[in-house]
Symmetry: C2
Subunit: 311 residues, 2 copies
């Protein structure tokens, strides 16, 4: 079952308390694809500039990501972002943003990309997300990410786009901001009333929460002693989550699948933050993924122990 | 197995977006005892003033809490706190603090209280905590809570006290502040290097995390759509957690017990915030506790679903 992702492909320069990197391969679609490919065939739709080399393309292609719809614009440069994280990694300052060729991004989906059973609309302008969603009318499952910028300047369009998808994946602060509900459970209910069957709230180091008709599910973050670079963790989570669901797109969706997908998403995201950019996920193996899945099982399991004197 | 708690007994006036209450029964030892008594016999050590009526004592006594060591000072008033919560309940302003008789609190433990198998040192001055701990030399398990005030003004004393206990229960921000470690896993390791076998980090709406020799365990917060009053949630958690462990103080401690205790603590705390002060926990039943325990099981369980084409 194939999965199409539409989003940004970028170069990131990042400073954290643990070091810095210049012009690393990044972007929401990149992080998503490198995680999703562990579970299913991924097609990436995006735009890059003349500074994007074949070696960059090969990072994706040699890991099984289909790059046929990665458009290269010869008279411009790739989207560039530079940022610096605070000492506790919980906030960051943007030092530079150069949209470059991404400013005029018009996603061009090949027939193969349009026919994907599962579609992920990465964090781009909501009108564009809706247009892409319209092109993929055979998708059985469509998920969407967004960000505070679009909530600030295009809230109505974003809500209109959300009405047409099955799953919304947001940071919990964004879910609260979007719905103007300080309570996360109410915020998720509000979003689900707009149409999506499922809402996933990403909670950074605290993990992620899932809201469906069947109720609530939550997973903690993996307790790393050293987080080197949080950039792309949310997109990596989404790639694991949606990628796993895409691998099962022939099955009826079920809470069991969603919960397992949440765990795989959390697993891959936990590796992503161990090193800069995509460094760790690039050399990640499926054995490592499965081993950490088992650790998530161990760190969340508990049993009722009877009280003395009770049945 | 009995459990002695030493801490504050207070009157709280609270304003939240959902209403307000004047001079409710509160304080760390009160919330702790009303939660712990679901699991074991609790003895409360504290001080109150002339404004503390028999009806207030009866709230504890009729629920099985032993109040023999609740000292009443006839020429002073009970500790009073007033506060107002923000719209999202994630911050609060203190409007008034009157320490009253609590300012000169010198815990006086009867022989019975000193002989408890389990001791909880609620959030009081660390020198006092250490003195009480010294009086209870037969305790098999001693847990401690504290707050940012003592980290600010009595950090060395607090660390000295921590060296003599088995378990530290703190908000995660306090654990980071105490250890000057922004990373929670490192902060917990640092505290455990000082002596305590286990560290519990309370994470508010995100739940709670447990660090032991056996590794990491985490539970989410219960996803309430309406949180009326967070006051005392942390003490209620501690009461459920330590109370459950005290009920098993004859057994060897084990990770299974700690994890189950984390869940009971989270369950009772989730009820505490549903209404003002101790209102909800006062009329809570063990059947309700067990039912919500089952909900925690449901909202954290997941299974590995094989990927198509894999073994």
């Amino acid at each position: 079952m194939s999965l199409t992702v539409v989003g940004s492909v970028a170069f990131d320069s990042v400073e954290t308390p643990f070091g810095s990197r210049e012009r690393m391969l990044g972007g929401s679609a990149t992080h998503f694809a490198l995680a999703g490919r562990f579970f299913t065939d991924v097609r990436i739709v995006g735009v890059v500039g003349r500074d994007f080399t074949d070696d960059h393309v090969d990072v994706l292609r040699t890991r099984g990501v289909n790059t046929d719809d990665l458009e290269r614009v010869s008279d411009g440069d790739t989207f560039f972002w530079a940022g610096r994280y605070s000492w506790d990694l919980n906030s960051r300052d943007t030092l530079d943003t150069q949209l470059n060729v991404f400013a005029d991004f018009q996603p061009k989906l090949s027939q193969e990309s349009r026919e994907a059973r599962v579609l992920f609309l990465g964090n781009i302008q909501p009108d564009l997300q809706r247009e892409v969603r319209g092109q993929c009318d055979r998708a059985a499952f469509v998920a969407l990410d967004s960000m505070n910028l679009w909530i600030d300047i295009a809230r109505d369009s974003l809500i209109e786009t959300i009405r047409g998808v099955d799953c919304v994946i947001l940071n919990d602060a964004e879910a609260r901001q979007l719905t103007e509900e300080p309570n996360l459970a109410r915020a998720a209910r509000r979003i689900r009333e707009w149409g999506p069957e499922i809402v996933v709230a990403k909670q950074g180091e605290y993990g992620a929460a899932l809201f469906t008709d069947s109720g609530f599910f939550s997973l903690p973050g993996y307790p790393l002693e050293t987080v080197v670079d949080p950039t792309g963790a949310g997109d990596t989570f989404a790639g694991g989550f949606v990628g796993f669901l895409a691998a099962h797109a022939g099955s009826l969706p079920s809470d069991d699948l969603y919960r397992c997908a949440m765990t795989y998403g959390s697993v891959v995201a936990s590796f992503n933050v161990e090193e800069f950019g995509t460094e760790r996920v690039q050399r990640l193996t499926m054995d490592e993924v499965e081993e950490r899945f088992s650790e998530f099982e161990r760190m969340t399991s508990f049993e009722r122990v009877p009280l003395p004197g009770r049945a």
